[in-house]
Symmetry: C2
Subunit: 243 residues, 2 copies
């Protein structure tokens, strides 16, 4: 039996630090000498970001990496044909910009979908700290290896999928899984994204996406009420998604 789905997520709710990917590099560290509180040096917590706020622009030099604290961010790239492609989404507890650690430049633009908030770490200052506190290095390794795994899993979810049904099924399962800790539900989500953005991300037209949503509802696979989407038949969706 599916777990109860809260009718509305508290807009002011931040992700728990324990559920945040940045946790390993933002918590106080107990060393032989003392417990260092890093929040004073390189960490800024829960900075508010209004709807459509641009965290950083594609091609600008890396200065900070972020973790989503509340809300959703979309990662966009301009194509040669001057269209905007959404190439990723980030939910509470997830990192933004950490893939620029290697390149030193951001390679997409990050935009707040609705009113949101982020925690922010200065890369320069963290690197300085890392030279004197080895634990920071170890924690960064953990963070990056976890991130590598997540990226791979995300890639697998979409590569080789073409049918609109399997794409939407994969998308819904993916975002609900990624938000389960934050929302407290493993079958339901309040998705602030408009359909147009979802279609853009999946490479479908909005009309097609709308039709698949309608079909899934008719077939009793999902239930939609405004922004709220609930999965009714998780197993059938997994089969559809070809996981």
């Amino acid at each position: 039996m599916p777990s109860q789905c809260k009718s509305k997520i508290d807009k002011n709710k931040y992700v728990e630090c324990d559920d945040c990917a940045m946790n390993s590099i933002c918590q106080p560290i107990a060393t032989a000498q003392q417990s260092i509180n890093l929040s004073d040096s390189y960490l800024h917590k829960r900075i508010s970001a209004k709807k459509n706020k641009v965290l950083f622009q594609q091609s600008t030099p890396l200065t900070d990496i972020y973790a989503v604290s509340s809300g959703i961010f979309k990662l966009c790239q301009q194509t040669d044909n001057d269209e905007e492609n959404i190439i990723g989404l980030r939910f509470p507890g997830e990192l933004i910009g950490e893939d620029a650690l290697y390149l030193k430049f951001y390679n997409y633009t990050a935009i707040a979908v609705g009113d949101s908030s982020v925690c922010k770490i200065s890369v320069e200052q963290m690197t300085s700290c890392g030279k004197v506190v080895p634990e920071i290095q170890q924690n960064l390794i953990y963070l990056l290896s976890r991130q590598t795994y997540i990226r791979q899993r995300n890639f697998q979810a979409y590569i080789g999928k073409k049918s609109a049904d399997s794409l939407l099924a994969a998308f819904l399962l993916n975002i609900i899984e990624r938000n389960a800790n934050y929302t407290g539900s493993d079958n339901c989500i309040e998705l602030a994204l408009i359909r147009n953005d979802v279609a853009n991300f999946l490479g479908l037209r909005r009309e097609t996406l709308s039709r698949v949503f309608s079909k899934f509802q008719k077939d009793q696979l999902i239930q939609v009420e405004g922004k709220r989407i609930q999965l009714l038949e998780q197993k059938k969706l997994i089969k559809l998604a070809d996981f």
Copy 2:
């Protein structure tokens, strides 16, 4: 004018250590005390892997991470419907299995496409070394951040693309870029993969892929001779790929 393309790549050619993603964690490290040669402790160089050799099976515990030294490996997953999905390819200089550092389990099966070779690092032994030689940690951070970037870039290349034309264009540009250092060519590749595997990876049927290959040749975008593929109109392909 496109650079000359060698008619055949030397089958016995290994990737240069300087061009290998594993480089940062496999080279001798100069410490205050001494230069440590890690090849004695956790590194096995250039192990031969015959065609169809399985490096590791999906769901088995992580023991080693690999770098391709020569040849190509395909990463496969079994779906619920018992089909084999190719969810990734690895070329010389690229890592395999490093995304399991977080999960501790491999989440795909790695198979040699043709006769190949790999360098292999024991995770357990490397971790032990890392505790006494801090430089190893720093190098591992570099490696993982680079890998995170590569994954993101790879993801971007395919997400949101549906047309067979754009998928193949993106694929060709992607693999030629990834192999440029190894092959010495930025517009040409000898692809050991059979078309069936390419189609599987891209989520197309082999007939469709064949037709797109034919069309690209007719339109003078590429030139194909057996396994050898040369890009003639890189700019048009970039436009097609919607990069």
